[in-house]
Symmetry: C2
Subunit: 340 residues, 2 copies
């Protein structure tokens, strides 16, 4: 198992070729996924282990990706904390967290009781993938989960969470402490259920200034990572954090995920030789003609310049209208151009 | 006139205190503005010189800002190119530009004929402000205007413009050439009508990778700036460009605008001592208690460390629900803490 190229790259070891997977590779661009999804809601899909496993396996069969990632949503474990979740189609919490009383009411459930379907999905997948590809578990970073819980939905300005940070730091701290502990239990339970790597998604970590990131975001991510079962590698992806990779690095992951706003080579120079990187193709490049896709894959491989510890990926999730054959072609390019 | 602290700072000269203004200072957060706005549509306000001038003056009276900026919209000059514009409330072009035929159909009107109301507003304002504050004119960067013209409205993924860049570079180039020439005429006409500085807003310049910025965005902004009447200073603001300030700098402006994702001091180190900076308070900080606002103003002034050529501003436009007294307090803090 530890010879999987993906896991070797996570550990910074040399690999025969550059392993590749795509964030949101089990998603709407794939007709096979849509066929399953047409028969149930998004939440039902997350909560039905056989179906969640099926859509996790599809892109491995179709794309030939070098790692599989659990199909779920970062907000799945928040619902059993006591917040009713819906997708319309974006996530909505009908009663957002705004006060200390709201925070006090949040529970920290045992993951096997709160989200048994996630753990069962992981167990099914681990058996299905044994000897074929490694299985990545994942969770949202505490700050990103807090953004959704406080805003109640996606936001442009994130006014509510920032007001809480600035004007009610005691409420903010209590909330973040509680989320961080939930997250720690959740991710460690995923490892126990079979996850062979953990990716932490901090989708909104880049909305704050570097000063605020250091004060309000980093301490909780660092505490989370410090509390994880480190028998598996941890990948930490903060979207929009290209100007503060030094701070992101201090959270202590094995691999740092990069969006497409940074030059991968320069990012590696900042992070240092011991830290792996994952990324960083602009997802819209998959709309382009094959020649352009190949050129961009080559550019990123060239920026890495053969350094061990590179996992190829998109800089964010694959977009819903991408032609599937373009995603498959990208995977082929990565393999071919990196020596497979 | 050239003794205005704002203009001295634009030229990199020492000032007795740090000049400050707020992007979108004539805006919805201000009850005086809403009183005017309640009697007409947004486009009517842009197209009625007396009203546009009135709302431009309001924040100077109320906030005590050190510069005024023309009230208009970056898309105002695009309409007379032949694209019907509406605000619902975001901007919408009912017939987006997608083909070479669409590009060929675009006109490049004389600004005095295409947007006479903008030029008249500038003339009114210049007379009204003489001896009091300098007047900033502005326009969208070619790429940002192209984003709206091709997408037809705001976008999350900017799939249409990126598809055009990657798959139809001839159409993209023809469009960008035409926009750049329109922009050049438009901004030079603003200077002739009384603008004492020009700000170029590249709201979407940060959505592309540094590689794509260098290839698809920078050449047009540079060509625009090279073609401007440089008897007035040029401020170049690219949102989300903190990872590529070296490239932004190559466009050749006098001042680079900074969003809140960068440390202002580090940005100055990258840009070099000859380039001024404008920014960079997170707009949401204006939701915070006064003590926090003051702390953040001080932090940014400290990051600048007394270097000449700093214009204080927000890192993006002021948000609609900010208490006006918080904006006024911020201006007072900048003045008091910088020695006025």
């Amino acid at each position: 198992m530890s010879d999987y190229p993906f896991l070797k790259a996570c550990r910074g070891e040399a690999t025969e070729f550059t392993p590749v997977w795509l964030m949101r590779q089990a998603g709407r661009y794939l007709p096979q996924y849509m066929a399953v999804r047409s028969k149930c809601t998004f939440l039902e899909l997350c909560k039905t282990p056989e179906l969640a496993a099926e859509v996790t396996i599809q892109p491995i069969d179709y794309l030939g990706a070098d790692a599989a990632i659990l199909f779920s949503d970062i907000l799945t474990p928040v619902e059993p904390m006591g917040l009713k979740l819906d997708f319309v189609p974006g996530p909505v919490f009908e009663s957002p967290v705004r006060s200390m009383a709201d925070v006090d009411a949040l529970r920290i459930p045992d993951p096997e009781e709160g989200v048994p379907y996630v753990m069962e999905t992981l167990r099914i997948l681990r058996r299905a993938f044994e000897g074929r590809v490694p299985l990545i578990g994942f969770g949202g970073a505490p700050f990103t989960l807090a953004c959704y819980m406080v805003e109640g939905k996606g936001s442009k300005d994130f006014a509510h969470i920032k007001k809480m940070m600035y004007a009610a730091p005691d409420v903010y701290t209590a909330l973040m402490d509680k989320i961080t502990e939930m997250d720690r239990l959740y991710l460690n339970a995923q490892v126990k259920a079979g996850a062979q790597a953990i990716q932490i998604f901090d989708t909104w970590g880049g909305i704050v200034s570097p000063t605020d990131y250091e004060k309000f975001v980093l301490p909780y991510t660092k505490k989370l990572i410090d509390g994880l079962d480190r028998s598996v590698p941890v990948i930490h992806f903060v979207k929009g954090a290209g100007t503060m990779l030094d701070l992101v690095n201090r959270a202590g992951s094995d691999v740092v995920g990069l969006d497409w706003h940074v030059n991968l080579g320069k990012a590696r120079d900042i992070l240092g030789p011991k830290i792996g990187v994952q990324g960083n193709l602009d997802p819209t490049v998959l709309y382009a003609p094959h020649a352009h896709i190949e050129r961009e894959v080559k550019r990123i491989l060239d920026e890495n310049a053969g350094r061990p510890g590179h996992i190829f990926n998109l800089g964010h999730g694959i977009l819903p209208n991408v032609p599937p054959e373009n995603a498959k072609f990208m995977v082929e390019c990565v393999h071919r151009l990196s020596g497979r």
